[in-house]
Protein backbone atom coordinates (compact mmCIF):
# COMPACT_ATOMS: atom_id res chain seq x y z
CA UNK A 1 0.00 0.00 0.00
CA UNK A 2 2.82 2.38 0.98
CA UNK A 3 4.59 1.69 -2.29
CA UNK A 4 1.46 2.12 -4.32
CA UNK A 5 0.95 5.49 -2.69
CA UNK A 6 4.51 6.48 -3.44
CA UNK A 7 4.03 5.45 -7.01
CA UNK A 8 0.87 7.47 -7.36
CA UNK A 9 2.58 10.51 -5.92
CA UNK A 10 5.43 10.19 -8.32
CA UNK A 11 3.07 9.68 -11.22
CA UNK A 12 1.10 12.78 -10.39
CA UNK A 13 4.39 14.63 -10.18
CA UNK A 14 5.16 13.24 -13.61
CA UNK A 15 1.83 14.44 -14.90
CA UNK A 16 2.40 17.89 -13.50
CA UNK A 17 5.60 18.04 -15.58
CA UNK A 18 3.59 17.18 -18.67
CA UNK A 19 1.07 19.85 -17.84
CA UNK A 20 3.82 22.41 -17.69
CA UNK A 21 4.95 21.36 -21.12
CA UNK A 22 1.49 21.14 -22.57
CA UNK A 23 1.27 24.90 -22.65
CA UNK A 24 4.59 25.38 -24.37
CA UNK A 25 4.19 22.84 -27.08
CA UNK A 26 1.37 24.27 -29.18
CA UNK A 27 3.11 27.62 -29.50
CA UNK A 28 6.32 26.00 -30.59
CA UNK A 29 4.64 23.78 -33.08
CA UNK A 30 2.68 26.72 -34.46
CA UNK A 31 5.84 28.72 -34.94
CA UNK A 32 7.54 25.75 -36.44
CA UNK A 33 4.75 25.07 -38.88
CA UNK A 34 4.58 28.62 -40.13
CA UNK A 35 8.31 28.86 -40.57
CA UNK A 36 8.44 25.44 -42.16
CA UNK A 37 5.94 26.51 -44.74
CA UNK A 38 7.78 29.74 -45.38
CA UNK A 39 11.21 28.22 -45.65
CA UNK A 40 10.74 26.19 -48.82
CA UNK A 41 9.49 29.32 -50.45
CA UNK A 42 12.64 31.19 -49.54
CA UNK A 43 14.80 28.45 -50.98
CA UNK A 44 12.91 28.19 -54.21
CA UNK A 45 12.35 31.86 -54.80
CA UNK A 46 15.75 33.21 -53.86
CA UNK A 47 16.72 33.60 -57.52
CA UNK A 48 13.66 35.73 -58.26
CA UNK A 49 14.93 37.99 -55.48
CA UNK A 50 11.82 39.44 -53.98
CA UNK A 51 12.79 42.13 -51.51
CA UNK A 52 10.77 40.77 -48.57
CA UNK A 53 12.44 37.39 -48.70
CA UNK A 54 15.92 38.76 -48.90
CA UNK A 55 15.39 40.21 -45.48
CA UNK A 56 15.54 36.71 -44.01
CA UNK A 57 19.21 36.13 -43.19
CA UNK A 58 20.48 32.77 -44.34
CA UNK A 59 22.11 31.93 -40.97
CA UNK A 60 18.78 31.66 -39.17
CA UNK A 61 17.60 28.69 -41.21
CA UNK A 62 20.66 26.61 -40.35
CA UNK A 63 20.20 24.63 -37.18
CA UNK A 64 23.12 23.24 -35.23
CA UNK A 65 22.65 19.93 -33.43
CA UNK A 66 25.05 19.00 -30.69
CA UNK A 67 26.12 15.38 -30.41
CA UNK A 68 27.68 13.77 -27.39
CA UNK A 69 27.37 11.71 -24.30
CA UNK A 70 24.84 12.29 -21.52
CA UNK A 71 25.50 10.70 -18.13
CA UNK A 72 23.32 10.86 -15.07
CA UNK A 73 21.94 9.23 -12.00
CA UNK A 74 18.49 8.15 -10.84
CA UNK A 75 17.63 10.45 -7.94
CA UNK A 76 14.66 8.36 -6.83
CA UNK A 77 16.73 5.28 -6.15
CA UNK A 78 19.49 7.32 -4.58
CA UNK A 79 17.26 9.23 -2.15
CA UNK A 80 14.94 6.35 -1.34
CA UNK A 81 17.69 4.83 0.79
CA UNK A 82 17.49 7.88 3.08
CA UNK A 83 13.90 7.30 4.21
CA UNK A 84 13.32 3.60 3.47
CA UNK A 85 15.48 1.41 5.67
CA UNK A 86 14.58 -1.64 3.57
CA UNK A 87 16.03 -0.20 0.39
CA UNK A 88 19.44 0.68 -0.96
CA UNK A 89 20.01 1.31 -4.62
CA UNK A 90 21.66 3.38 -7.27
CA UNK A 91 21.22 3.64 -11.01
CA UNK A 92 23.48 5.36 -13.51
CA UNK A 93 22.01 6.32 -16.85
CA UNK A 94 23.73 7.26 -20.05
CA UNK A 95 22.95 7.89 -23.67
CA UNK A 96 24.89 8.67 -26.81
CA UNK A 97 23.31 10.62 -29.63
CA UNK A 98 23.64 8.49 -32.72
CA UNK A 99 21.59 10.38 -35.30
CA UNK A 100 19.26 13.35 -35.19
CA UNK A 101 16.52 11.29 -33.55
CA UNK A 102 18.14 8.12 -32.27
CA UNK A 103 20.10 7.69 -29.09
CA UNK A 104 21.88 4.61 -27.76
CA UNK A 105 20.86 4.37 -24.13
CA UNK A 106 21.91 2.25 -21.19
CA UNK A 107 21.32 1.98 -17.46
CA UNK A 108 23.52 0.30 -14.90
CA UNK A 109 22.40 -0.24 -11.35
CA UNK A 110 22.51 -1.98 -8.02
CA UNK A 111 19.60 -2.66 -5.70
CA UNK A 112 19.20 -4.24 -2.28
CA UNK A 113 15.59 -4.49 -1.22
CA UNK A 114 13.82 -6.23 1.64
CA UNK A 115 10.14 -6.93 1.07
CA UNK A 116 7.72 -7.75 3.85
CA UNK A 117 4.67 -9.61 2.63
CA UNK A 118 1.88 -10.92 4.84
CA UNK A 119 3.32 -14.39 5.13
CA UNK A 120 6.96 -14.03 4.24
CA UNK A 121 9.84 -11.60 4.33
CA UNK A 122 12.47 -11.78 1.65
CA UNK A 123 15.29 -9.67 0.34
CA UNK A 124 16.93 -9.44 -3.05
CA UNK A 125 20.18 -7.80 -3.99
CA UNK A 126 22.18 -7.64 -7.15
CA UNK A 127 23.29 -5.64 -10.14
CA UNK A 128 21.67 -5.09 -13.47
CA UNK A 129 22.35 -3.60 -16.84
CA UNK A 130 19.89 -2.40 -19.44
CA UNK A 131 20.82 -1.37 -22.96
CA UNK A 132 18.91 -0.29 -26.02
CA UNK A 133 17.89 2.84 -27.85
CA UNK A 134 15.66 5.89 -27.49
CA UNK A 135 13.82 7.67 -30.27
CA UNK A 136 13.11 11.36 -29.76
CA UNK A 137 9.54 12.25 -30.69
CA UNK A 138 9.93 15.89 -29.79
CA UNK A 139 10.55 18.53 -32.48
CA UNK A 140 12.76 21.15 -30.93
CA UNK A 141 12.72 24.75 -32.07
CA UNK A 142 16.09 26.40 -32.73
CA UNK A 143 18.68 25.49 -30.12
CA UNK A 144 16.36 23.67 -27.71
CA UNK A 145 17.44 20.16 -26.85
CA UNK A 146 14.51 18.67 -24.97
CA UNK A 147 13.47 15.08 -25.46
CA UNK A 148 10.30 13.06 -25.30
CA UNK A 149 11.48 9.60 -26.05
CA UNK A 150 10.16 6.15 -26.62
CA UNK A 151 12.66 3.36 -26.57
CA UNK A 152 13.39 -0.28 -26.18
CA UNK A 153 15.79 -1.96 -23.75
CA UNK A 154 17.08 -5.39 -23.03
CA UNK A 155 17.70 -5.99 -19.34
CA UNK A 156 19.88 -8.48 -17.51
CA UNK A 157 20.21 -8.94 -13.78
CA UNK A 158 22.37 -11.20 -11.66
CA UNK A 159 21.27 -11.33 -8.05
CA UNK A 160 20.70 -13.34 -4.92
CA UNK A 161 17.61 -13.71 -2.79
CA UNK A 162 17.24 -14.43 0.88
CA UNK A 163 14.19 -15.87 2.55
CA UNK A 164 14.29 -14.21 5.95
CA UNK A 165 11.16 -15.65 7.54
CA UNK A 166 7.93 -17.32 6.49
CA UNK A 167 4.65 -18.65 7.82
CA UNK A 168 2.99 -21.95 7.08
CA UNK A 169 -0.46 -21.38 5.62
CA UNK A 170 -2.77 -23.72 7.49
CA UNK A 171 -6.49 -23.20 6.87
CA UNK A 172 -7.31 -25.57 9.75
CA UNK A 173 -5.41 -24.28 12.76
CA UNK A 174 -6.77 -26.93 15.16
CA UNK A 175 -3.37 -27.14 16.85
CA UNK A 176 -3.02 -23.38 17.09
CA UNK A 177 -1.33 -20.75 14.95
CA UNK A 178 2.39 -21.10 14.66
CA UNK A 179 4.93 -18.28 14.85
CA UNK A 180 6.84 -17.49 11.65
CA UNK A 181 9.75 -19.77 10.86
CA UNK A 182 12.94 -17.72 10.84
CA UNK A 183 15.34 -20.25 9.38
CA UNK A 184 16.87 -18.00 6.76
CA UNK A 185 17.82 -19.43 3.44
CA UNK A 186 19.95 -17.76 0.80
CA UNK A 187 19.59 -18.43 -2.90
CA UNK A 188 22.61 -17.36 -4.92
CA UNK A 189 23.40 -17.23 -8.61
CA UNK A 190 19.98 -16.18 -9.82
CA UNK A 191 19.60 -14.43 -13.16
CA UNK A 192 16.79 -12.86 -15.13
CA UNK A 193 16.47 -11.17 -18.50
CA UNK A 194 13.68 -8.96 -19.75
CA UNK A 195 12.74 -6.48 -22.43
CA UNK A 196 11.17 -3.16 -21.65
CA UNK A 197 9.46 -0.35 -23.46
CA UNK A 198 10.72 2.90 -21.99
CA UNK A 199 8.99 6.24 -22.26
CA UNK A 200 10.84 9.24 -21.05
CA UNK A 201 11.09 12.95 -20.91
CA UNK A 202 14.25 15.01 -20.54
CA UNK A 203 14.24 18.75 -20.18
CA UNK A 204 17.32 20.94 -20.24
CA UNK A 205 17.06 23.06 -17.11
CA UNK A 206 20.48 24.70 -17.26
CA UNK A 207 23.06 24.56 -20.00
CA UNK A 208 23.96 20.84 -20.41
CA UNK A 209 21.99 19.83 -17.30
CA UNK A 210 18.89 17.71 -17.89
CA UNK A 211 16.11 16.58 -15.59
CA UNK A 212 14.20 13.55 -16.73
CA UNK A 213 11.37 11.22 -15.94
CA UNK A 214 10.94 7.75 -17.31
CA UNK A 215 8.34 5.01 -17.11
CA UNK A 216 9.05 1.47 -18.24
CA UNK A 217 6.81 -1.45 -19.00
CA UNK A 218 8.71 -4.69 -18.67
CA UNK A 219 8.28 -8.23 -19.88
CA UNK A 220 10.30 -11.06 -18.35
CA UNK A 221 11.88 -13.33 -20.92
CA UNK A 222 14.00 -15.65 -18.78
CA UNK A 223 13.93 -16.10 -15.05
CA UNK A 224 16.12 -18.57 -13.17
CA UNK A 225 14.06 -19.33 -10.09
CA UNK A 226 15.33 -20.87 -6.87
CA UNK A 227 14.23 -24.33 -5.82
CA UNK A 228 11.10 -24.23 -3.63
CA UNK A 229 10.89 -20.42 -3.80
CA UNK A 230 10.23 -17.68 -6.31
CA UNK A 231 11.91 -14.51 -7.50
CA UNK A 232 9.73 -11.94 -5.77
CA UNK A 233 11.95 -8.97 -6.59
CA UNK A 234 14.49 -8.72 -9.36
CA UNK A 235 16.93 -5.78 -9.24
CA UNK A 236 16.23 -3.61 -12.27
CA UNK A 237 12.99 -5.40 -13.06
CA UNK A 238 11.39 -4.59 -9.68
CA UNK A 239 8.55 -6.56 -8.10
CA UNK A 240 7.34 -9.57 -10.02
CA UNK A 241 3.65 -10.29 -10.51
CA UNK A 242 1.72 -13.45 -11.33
CA UNK A 243 2.35 -12.96 -15.02
CA UNK A 244 5.65 -11.88 -16.52
CA UNK A 245 4.89 -8.15 -16.63
CA UNK A 246 6.59 -5.53 -14.53
CA UNK A 247 6.79 -1.78 -14.27
CA UNK A 248 9.38 0.73 -13.26
CA UNK A 249 10.17 4.38 -13.33
CA UNK A 250 13.06 6.70 -12.71
CA UNK A 251 13.73 10.35 -12.05
CA UNK A 252 17.07 11.35 -13.41
CA UNK A 253 19.46 14.25 -13.39
CA UNK A 254 22.07 14.08 -16.10
CA UNK A 255 24.87 16.09 -17.64
CA UNK A 256 25.45 16.39 -21.37
CA UNK A 257 29.04 16.30 -22.59
CA UNK A 258 29.07 17.78 -26.10
CA UNK A 259 31.57 16.09 -28.40
CA UNK A 260 30.83 17.36 -31.90
CA UNK A 261 28.28 19.45 -33.83
CA UNK A 262 26.30 18.86 -36.96
CA UNK A 263 24.51 21.48 -39.00
CA UNK A 264 21.05 20.77 -40.29
CA UNK A 265 19.85 22.82 -43.25
CA UNK A 266 16.40 24.30 -43.18
CA UNK A 267 15.48 22.57 -46.45
CA UNK A 268 16.21 19.19 -44.88
CA UNK A 269 13.99 19.98 -41.98
CA UNK A 270 11.20 21.09 -44.26
CA UNK A 271 11.32 17.89 -46.30
CA UNK A 272 11.08 15.82 -43.19
CA UNK A 273 8.07 17.70 -42.00
CA UNK A 274 6.04 17.37 -45.14
CA UNK A 275 4.45 14.02 -44.34
CA UNK A 276 3.54 15.28 -40.89
CA UNK A 277 1.51 18.16 -42.25
CA UNK A 278 -0.77 15.83 -44.15
CA UNK A 279 -2.20 14.45 -40.94
Amino acid sequence: MKHTLKFIFSLSLLFSMFLGFAQDVPEISKNKDTTATKKPQTEKTVKTAKPEIQEVPKDSVVKTDRYGLRVGVDLYKLTRGLYDKDYKGVEFVGDWRLTKKYYIAAELGYEDKTTEDDRLTSSANGTYVKAGFDYNLYQNWLDMENLITIGLRGGFSTFSQELINYKIYNPNPYWGELPPITEGQKYNGLTATWIEVAMGLKAQVFRNVFVGFGVQLKLLTTNKEPNNFENLYIPGFNRTYDGSFGIGFNYTVSYFIPIYKKKTMASEMAKKEEPKKKK
Partner: protein, 180 residues
Protein backbone atom coordinates in the same frame (compact mmCIF):
# COMPACT_ATOMS: atom_id res chain seq x y z
CA UNK B 1 1.19 14.23 -25.97
CA UNK B 2 -2.33 13.05 -25.27
CA UNK B 3 -1.36 9.58 -26.41
CA UNK B 4 1.52 9.57 -23.96
CA UNK B 5 -0.64 10.61 -21.05
CA UNK B 6 -3.30 8.03 -21.83
CA UNK B 7 -0.59 5.38 -22.02
CA UNK B 8 0.67 6.45 -18.62
CA UNK B 9 -2.86 6.26 -17.25
CA UNK B 10 -3.01 2.74 -18.62
CA UNK B 11 0.07 1.94 -16.54
CA UNK B 12 -1.61 3.08 -13.34
CA UNK B 13 -4.66 0.97 -14.07
CA UNK B 14 -2.35 -1.92 -14.84
CA UNK B 15 -0.71 -1.44 -11.48
CA UNK B 16 -3.96 -1.47 -9.53
CA UNK B 17 -5.06 -4.66 -11.25
CA UNK B 18 -1.77 -6.29 -10.34
CA UNK B 19 -2.40 -5.90 -6.61
CA UNK B 20 -4.75 -8.86 -6.40
CA UNK B 21 -1.99 -11.42 -5.85
CA UNK B 22 -1.44 -9.94 -2.39
CA UNK B 23 -4.37 -11.89 -0.98
CA UNK B 24 -4.23 -15.64 -0.59
CA UNK B 25 -7.12 -17.17 -2.49
CA UNK B 26 -9.12 -19.58 -0.30
CA UNK B 27 -9.21 -22.09 -3.15
CA UNK B 28 -5.43 -22.35 -3.29
CA UNK B 29 -4.38 -25.81 -2.11
CA UNK B 30 -2.39 -25.20 1.06
CA UNK B 31 -1.56 -27.42 4.04
CA UNK B 32 -3.66 -30.58 3.51
CA UNK B 33 -5.51 -32.59 6.15
CA UNK B 34 -5.33 -36.36 6.53
CA UNK B 35 -8.32 -37.94 4.78
CA UNK B 36 -9.82 -41.08 6.33
CA UNK B 37 -12.58 -42.95 4.51
CA UNK B 38 -14.77 -45.50 6.28
CA UNK B 39 -15.82 -48.76 4.60
CA UNK B 40 -18.22 -51.52 5.51
CA UNK B 41 -16.29 -54.61 6.72
CA UNK B 42 -19.07 -56.84 5.43
CA UNK B 43 -18.96 -55.24 2.00
CA UNK B 44 -15.43 -53.74 1.63
CA UNK B 45 -16.12 -51.91 -1.63
CA UNK B 46 -18.93 -49.82 -0.09
CA UNK B 47 -18.32 -46.77 2.05
CA UNK B 48 -20.17 -46.70 5.36
CA UNK B 49 -21.29 -43.71 7.39
CA UNK B 50 -20.06 -43.45 10.95
CA UNK B 51 -22.39 -42.63 13.80
CA UNK B 52 -21.71 -39.48 15.83
CA UNK B 53 -17.97 -39.85 15.50
CA UNK B 54 -15.96 -37.38 17.52
CA UNK B 55 -12.25 -36.87 16.89
CA UNK B 56 -10.14 -35.25 19.60
CA UNK B 57 -6.46 -34.52 19.36
CA UNK B 58 -4.25 -35.74 22.16
CA UNK B 59 -4.18 -33.27 25.11
CA UNK B 60 -6.89 -31.16 23.45
CA UNK B 61 -10.17 -30.17 25.13
CA UNK B 62 -12.29 -29.68 22.05
CA UNK B 63 -12.91 -32.07 19.22
CA UNK B 64 -12.28 -31.24 15.58
CA UNK B 65 -15.09 -29.08 14.25
CA UNK B 66 -17.15 -30.88 11.62
CA UNK B 67 -20.15 -28.54 11.49
CA UNK B 68 -18.85 -25.00 11.45
CA UNK B 69 -22.33 -23.50 11.19
CA UNK B 70 -23.44 -24.72 14.59
CA UNK B 71 -22.95 -22.86 17.86
CA UNK B 72 -19.78 -23.51 19.81
CA UNK B 73 -21.63 -25.08 22.73
CA UNK B 74 -23.63 -27.39 20.48
CA UNK B 75 -22.25 -30.96 20.82
CA UNK B 76 -23.31 -31.67 17.24
CA UNK B 77 -20.67 -29.18 16.10
CA UNK B 78 -17.95 -31.69 16.94
CA UNK B 79 -19.43 -34.92 15.57
CA UNK B 80 -19.81 -36.32 12.08
CA UNK B 81 -22.05 -38.89 10.45
CA UNK B 82 -20.31 -38.94 7.10
CA UNK B 83 -18.15 -41.62 5.53
CA UNK B 84 -15.00 -39.47 5.39
CA UNK B 85 -13.23 -37.29 7.91
CA UNK B 86 -10.43 -34.82 7.34
CA UNK B 87 -8.17 -34.26 10.30
CA UNK B 88 -5.33 -31.76 10.60
CA UNK B 89 -1.89 -33.06 11.56
CA UNK B 90 0.55 -30.99 13.60
CA UNK B 91 2.82 -29.16 11.15
CA UNK B 92 5.59 -28.64 13.69
CA UNK B 93 5.84 -32.23 14.97
CA UNK B 94 6.58 -35.73 13.70
CA UNK B 95 3.67 -37.50 15.40
CA UNK B 96 0.03 -36.64 16.02
CA UNK B 97 -2.35 -38.71 18.16
CA UNK B 98 -6.14 -38.68 17.84
CA UNK B 99 -8.95 -40.27 19.84
CA UNK B 100 -11.74 -41.55 17.59
CA UNK B 101 -14.90 -41.74 19.74
CA UNK B 102 -17.67 -43.75 18.10
CA UNK B 103 -21.28 -43.05 19.18
CA UNK B 104 -19.92 -40.17 21.27
CA UNK B 105 -23.36 -38.71 21.97
CA UNK B 106 -24.87 -41.96 23.25
CA UNK B 107 -26.63 -41.97 26.64
CA UNK B 108 -25.44 -45.47 27.52
CA UNK B 109 -21.67 -45.52 28.13
CA UNK B 110 -21.27 -49.11 26.95
CA UNK B 111 -22.12 -48.18 23.36
CA UNK B 112 -19.41 -45.52 23.28
CA UNK B 113 -16.19 -46.93 21.92
CA UNK B 114 -12.86 -45.10 21.74
CA UNK B 115 -9.92 -46.07 19.54
CA UNK B 116 -6.64 -44.17 19.42
CA UNK B 117 -4.43 -43.79 16.37
CA UNK B 118 -0.99 -42.24 16.47
CA UNK B 119 0.35 -41.10 13.12
CA UNK B 120 4.09 -41.00 12.44
CA UNK B 121 5.27 -38.85 9.57
CA UNK B 122 7.86 -36.50 8.18
CA UNK B 123 7.06 -32.98 7.03
CA UNK B 124 8.21 -30.78 4.20
CA UNK B 125 7.53 -27.07 3.75
CA UNK B 126 6.66 -26.22 0.16
CA UNK B 127 6.48 -22.71 -1.32
CA UNK B 128 3.00 -21.75 -2.54
CA UNK B 129 3.03 -18.06 -3.46
CA UNK B 130 3.85 -14.56 -2.26
CA UNK B 131 0.42 -14.18 -0.67
CA UNK B 132 -0.02 -17.68 0.77
CA UNK B 133 3.53 -18.24 1.93
CA UNK B 134 4.40 -21.88 2.46
CA UNK B 135 2.40 -25.03 3.06
CA UNK B 136 3.39 -28.21 4.84
CA UNK B 137 3.01 -31.59 3.19
CA UNK B 138 3.35 -34.86 5.10
CA UNK B 139 4.68 -38.32 4.38
CA UNK B 140 3.68 -41.16 6.68
CA UNK B 141 6.79 -43.15 7.64
CA UNK B 142 7.56 -46.48 5.97
CA UNK B 143 7.95 -48.22 9.33
CA UNK B 144 4.85 -47.93 11.50
CA UNK B 145 3.00 -45.17 9.62
CA UNK B 146 0.31 -45.37 12.32
CA UNK B 147 -0.21 -47.17 15.65
CA UNK B 148 -3.75 -48.28 16.47
CA UNK B 149 -4.50 -48.77 20.19
CA UNK B 150 -7.57 -49.28 22.38
CA UNK B 151 -7.14 -47.32 25.62
CA UNK B 152 -10.38 -48.24 27.38
CA UNK B 153 -9.99 -52.02 27.01
CA UNK B 154 -13.20 -52.66 25.15
CA UNK B 155 -12.81 -54.08 21.65
CA UNK B 156 -11.58 -52.05 18.67
CA UNK B 157 -14.46 -50.51 16.77
CA UNK B 158 -12.18 -50.12 13.77
CA UNK B 159 -11.80 -53.70 12.61
CA UNK B 160 -9.12 -52.92 10.08
CA UNK B 161 -7.03 -49.84 9.33
CA UNK B 162 -5.23 -49.77 5.98
CA UNK B 163 -2.72 -47.35 4.58
CA UNK B 164 -3.93 -46.20 1.18
CA UNK B 165 -1.52 -43.39 0.36
CA UNK B 166 1.40 -42.32 2.58
CA UNK B 167 1.90 -38.99 0.77
CA UNK B 168 -0.43 -36.40 2.23
CA UNK B 169 -0.21 -33.67 -0.40
CA UNK B 170 -3.84 -32.97 -1.21
CA UNK B 171 -7.29 -33.46 0.28
CA UNK B 172 -8.72 -34.91 -2.91
CA UNK B 173 -7.64 -38.46 -2.13
CA UNK B 174 -8.01 -40.95 0.69
CA UNK B 175 -4.90 -41.59 2.75
CA UNK B 176 -6.24 -44.08 5.30
CA UNK B 177 -9.03 -46.63 4.83
CA UNK B 178 -10.92 -47.84 7.91
CA UNK B 179 -13.20 -50.89 7.85
CA UNK B 180 -15.78 -51.42 10.56
Amino acid sequence: MKKLISLLLLFTFGLSSCEKDDICDANTPTTPRLVITFYDIANPSKTKNVSNLKVIGDKMDQGIVFNENLAEDDPLRYVTNASTVMIPLKVNDKTTTFKFIYNSLSETPTTINTDVIKFNYTTQNVYVSRACGFKTIFQLTNVAPFIHTDPDGDTFWMTEVDLENPNIESENETHIKVYF
